[in-house]
Symmetry: C3
Subunit: 267 residues, 3 copies
Amino acid sequence: MKKIKVDAYKLLRKIRQDQPLVHHLTNWVTIYDCANIVKVMGGSPVMAHAKEEVAQMSAIASALVLNIGTLTLDFIQAMKIAARSANRKNIPVLLDACGAGATSLRDNKCFELLKEVKINILKGNASEIARLSGEHVMTKGVDASGIYGNQLKLAKRVAKKFSCTVVITGKTDIITDKNKIYLVKNGHPMMANVVGTGCMASSVIGAFAAVEPDLALACASGLSCFEIAAELAAINTKGPGAFKEKIFDCLFNLDKKTIDKRQKIER
Amino acid sequence: MKKIKVDAYKLLRKIRQDQPLVHHLTNWVTIYDCANIVKVMGGSPVMAHAKEEVAQMSAIASALVLNIGTLTLDFIQAMKIAARSANRKNIPVLLDACGAGATSLRDNKCFELLKEVKINILKGNASEIARLSGEHVMTKGVDASGIYGNQLKLAKRVAKKFSCTVVITGKTDIITDKNKIYLVKNGHPMMANVVGTGCMASSVIGAFAAVEPDLALACASGLSCFEIAAELAAINTKGPGAFKEKIFDCLFNLDKKTIDKRQKIER
Amino acid sequence: MKKIKVDAYKLLRKIRQDQPLVHHLTNWVTIYDCANIVKVMGGSPVMAHAKEEVAQMSAIASALVLNIGTLTLDFIQAMKIAARSANRKNIPVLLDACGAGATSLRDNKCFELLKEVKINILKGNASEIARLSGEHVMTKGVDASGIYGNQLKLAKRVAKKFSCTVVITGKTDIITDKNKIYLVKNGHPMMANVVGTGCMASSVIGAFAAVEPDLALACASGLSCFEIAAELAAINTKGPGAFKEKIFDCLFNLDKKTIDKRQKIER
């Protein structure tokens, strides 16, 4: 792996210009944050989960973001309908495996989704992705993080198993689509002290994937931009409340110069 | 149309004194913002959507705010029950046609609501209201805005069609109840960069309508106060995160002098 | 009653060290705030309400927080399943009787919960708790507060009736478990101007109860810490928006010295 530069600003500018519609079926905890982080980038977030409209909504969208954080059976059914519509239209579908490993319902529904619809990007922390790989790991809540001797191998294995791009978030984010690997080393420890950074990262990736067909590149670009915004938000900030709010401002104002200076990506 | 002054402060003071209960059936994205914007004005927000209690809740409320942003069939059914209770008690019912035009479910359910219960105030952006007028317009997400040669005619047509007060939000807000027209020219471009300003505007109008029987006047007064708060919030503000938070502070602290100085209403 | 000092910092430090999982079935208005207030204390919040997973989630949690703010019949059923699982594991279950008195559904479902499962901590404002005592009081919305000649007697009566620890929040918070009484006199009037402080207080208590088996002590310690954070947040703060955000920062940074200096507890 060696340091590279990725033209993430080009994609951010494309989001600001094209205002892609990013359809979400996400959790009730961070639903506002998911919508707002897409909005401050210049995208058009839409949250819709009625079985009767999700297919139509996904059909006019440029990306679909699924997050099982507060799943119910009805909600999973709506996710499948939305995803099938997205698959037909060939727009990227991201699954955030939020809390996988905590209950068998979460595991089973993730497996169902991965089997019954095409998931293009599978995102989670190390313990969530490990669970979906078939390894036996217990997750404690939704913010768990285990230490894995070789998360990279895990990511590759899962990417191969589900024929998708895999994103394992952590201090170093790992992104692989089986052919190539990106490591993103941006971010700030304060991100772990506030609810919502993981879900927002998924929405950011969704917006980048809406404008860039190379999904691994979209993931690396989106994550680095989001995490650079978090780095800027942490400067002279007293706590998680102020930090969280400033992430929106910093991503809204993010420019090419700052991205080029701060981006830490390896390939 | 000519500039007029409306005593919006009198109504704001009445909200602060009477603390009217504003019952909401709104969307899961901005539900907190809707509650909090009513709260910081001094009103009493309540969010309740169980079919088994909405009639009773509306019966003790002073206004009912409906928002279809994350509608489901069950939710629409609860809206109808709540609205019938509100109709019986003769309190104002506002419908925010959030995302109308994006899916046929949204269109159909808006039409059902407008047919089956009495909607006193119908609010949306130009493309949403155009859709409900019967014109064929596609909405892209929920923040879409089209340009209409004659939105004023549209507003009048829709007000007549549904015998209600119509609010079309935009750079200039148009309010008409068939007999009179208000234009509200307050606000700030930053409002378009953050999720929730449209939904909050509906809740603000709900609180004003709870204390003022002239609904067009209530709409014009409420919108101008909310948008003046947004103007103040935008001063020396770096981005949408800080802006959003400051709207609450600025509305909470809004006084007569500031309203009189900044209010831009035409009639 | 006389002033005492409670080692609340010891419990806060234990939360920061042990990161207890606090399972919530709460309302859609303040769900983010509930999660985030637990997170900034160092706890692990999890929100899960599917009937199919709540038992398993409660079984890996250290406390369960129930809040009926936006109840539905399905949701109450999930609460019962979660509570039975929590009862079996012998972890504390808190019920926030949010809006009791406003509708008969809320009253009836609170009574059902109190009858069918073991509630260890029952929390509400004076009018909510009065309602559950069998007194006939109308609640106006969810933020109502009546003045009761003898709230202390009320608290004792309800604690005895339901064999639980009762928390009546207000300017002075009353906590009793039948054997002992705590009065917490911390807090700031600005707390009444923003949505969510009551729900967050329940989540804070849940986290303290997760690490301290003496539930009355956990309630007094948690409430005083939360309200000291609110006092700090109100210093030089212009309105409810900034205030709300700063509560998170102040609780995140709360240290032993500040707690010892500001704590106002009587027993």
